[in-house]
């Protein structure tokens, strides 16, 4: 396994997490290819073979719509995330993409300081080469429960 490629994948995941946690949501669609898919689901739905997403976007236009709605339409209590992303498991790359699996924890911090473990799960990704972008990012949450609402993407 190409060590440099491993480092570049981990850097992509890190930049993604930092963008979300630093409220740079407008940068979020740029981590994806133009037709890149993003899907949050639950381990239960995956195990049962059920297609229902909690959040689903096909392509950067839908990703941008999600952020525009968060900024201009949706109302939610001020909150931040703190993502912790694990080391990655990588498949052997083919000529145009590589598959990556990473674990994550996501804390949610409210304005009054209340912090909770909001979500944990796996990022199951297909990442394009040579320019690293998510062609597919599936966020498989361990729990079927979501506290109050899910506004900021995971």
């Amino acid at each position: 396994m190409d060590l440099e490629l491993r480092l570049r994948v981990e850097e992509l995941h890190a930049r993604y997490a930092h963008a979300l946690d630093n409220d740079e949501l407008e940068r979020w669609p740029d981590f994806f290819t133009p037709n890149g898919r993003y899907r949050i689901t639950t381990a239960e739905n995956e195990a049962r073979g059920l297609p229902l997403p909690v959040l689903y976007a096909e392509g950067q236009a839908m990703l941008r719509d999600r952020i525009a709605s968060l900024r201009h339409a949706n109302i939610y209590e001020p909150q931040r995330y703190r993502h912790m992303v694990s080391a990655v498991l990588l498949d052997e790359p083919d000529t145009t993409s590589i598959r990556s699996i990473a674990h994550f924890l996501c804390l949610r911090i409210m304005e009054n300081g209340e912090s909770v473990l909001y979500a944990s799960g796996r990022y199951v990704d297909r990442i394009t080469l040579p320019e690293l972008r998510y062609d597919e990012r599936i966020v498989i949450c361990d729990s079927r429960r979501f506290d109050t609402l899910l506004a900021i993407p995971l």
Partner: protein
């Protein structure tokens, strides 16, 4: 001071005192008078227990319940509590079983919840075991009466509950049947945990006035504005409701001239990918949104091509679990499935037009904490409780409280 000494505000139907969301005794009485009383409680879709021998576990109020389909195909539901020591009989969320064995001491139940075997009941080699006159069946789990309608399974713990169709009534039942026109297929489930009393969520569901004011996505994208044609149905007893909006491209500017926060504003807000909202009029009656609720804790929605059952489960005075089961029809083609999955973005915890509900109801729970004897002002539409063609009304909310007071004898 006990709750039963509390009095309802003199204004009657147009006020809801905040102690209804805060009083532990009220919460306990609701379990007895409402959830265990003469009400029908949503359990699951029939499609989730389609196979003979299948089961799932759920709740009626605080009571854990097993729902089964027996080998002959009949539906049953019974309390998930062993007659012996009270342990859960069934730990799994769903599955298939030949029988149900309590893990604690291996007492065995059939699909109807009958105790069929007590391990070592007669002891071994004449030693141990229960006396011949022991009657462990006296503590058997409660059985629910079960009925399915429109592919939806309901259970009741009371002998006094009328037949399900009569309970739903003639105003609401046709609106239910208009959605479930074909066999249903489960697309998936998740749970939204709400930081508030269960009634605040039902309040919210029945509040036709808030939708276009709280949910700006609706208004900014002109999905649902009160200037569009629609209406509300309320059952005679107030308990159940249904509101709908027709598919009409709104050209009015009532929001803009009224200076409402949810108005489009100077910068017209447009989706880059409006295909997410494209609706196929699959039910053929030009309705874009229908929200239907049955007392105490069931919601059926059609939001464009997103269809779902929502089950409201109280988990304590200030905590509610909202179980979403999104479904399609068994004969959906690939294009319809994709449309339903895209439009699932509108609902659930991340829903463009529903994420605010969990927050707003929690804000009420927090806001009223020091004011149990103050009250909500629910006067949109006067004191009227009934059907109408305006959604700038709180008629269905007043209906909820009329029904609740009737069950609670408050």
């Amino acid at each position: 001071m006990t709750r039963m000494q509390r009095s309802w505000p003199a204004e009657g139907a147009t006020r809801v005192p905040y102690w209804v969301y805060q009083d532990e005794e009220i919460y306990r009485e609701e379990q007895r008078r409402i959830f265990h009383g003469p009400t029908w409680n949503y359990l699951c879709l029939e499609a989730e227990v389609a196979e003979p021998g299948s089961f799932l576990t759920t709740f009626v109020g605080e009571m854990p319940v097993v729902v089964t389909r027996d080998p002959q195909g009949a539906l049953h539901a019974f309390e998930n509590r062993c007659a012996h020591r009270g342990a859960l009989i069934c730990m799994q969320a769903r599955g298939r079983a030949e029988r149900f064995n309590c893990i604690y001491h291996n007492w065995t139940y059939d699909h109807a919840g009958n105790l069929t075997n007590v391990a070592f009941r007669k002891g071994i080699a004449g030693k141990g075991g229960m006396p011949a006159d022991a009657h462990p069946e006296s503590q058997a789990p409660k059985k629910l009466r079960v009925e399915a309608i429109c592919g939806l399974v309901f259970g009741t713990l009371s002998d006094r509950t009328p037949a399900l169709a009569d309970y739903i009534g003639p105003q609401i039942l046709p609106r239910m049947k208009r959605v479930t026109v074909k066999p249903l297929k489960v697309l998936g489930t998740y749970t939204q945990v709400l930081p508030n009393n269960w009634k605040l969520y039902m309040d919210n569901v029945k509040d036709t006035y808030h939708a276009s004011l709280l949910h700006l996505f609706f208004t900014r994208f002109r999905i649902n504005r009160l200037t569009q044609k629609g209406g509300v149905f309320v059952s005679d007893d107030g308990a159940h409701h249904c509101t709908y909006t027709e598919i009409v491209e709104d050209r009015g500017d009532a929001y803009e001239t009224g200076g409402m926060r949810s108005a489009g504003g100077a910068h017209d807000f447009r989706l880059q990918s409006p295909e997410l909202l494209e609706q196929e009029d699959e039910l053929g009656d030009n309705v874009s949104i229908q929200i239907l609720s049955l007392f105490p804790g069931f919601v059926l929605h059609q939001i464009r091509n997103s269809l779902a059952a929502r089950q409201v489960i109280p988990k304590g005075l200030e905590r509610t679990e909202l179980n979403w089961t999104l479904f399609g029809f068994a004969d959906d083609d690939a294009a319809m499935l994709r449309r339903r999955l895209l439009q699932s973005n509108l609902v659930g915890p991340a829903g463009y037009i529903s994420m605010e509900d969990g927050a707003a109801t929690g804000f009420v729970q927090r806001g009223v904490r020091a004011s149990p004897d103050r009250a909500s002002v629910i006067e949109m539409g006067g004191a009227h409780i009934g059907s109408g063609d305006s959604r700038i009304t709180e008629t269905a909310v007043r209906g909820l409280w009329k029904a609740w007071r009737s069950y609670m004898q408050v």
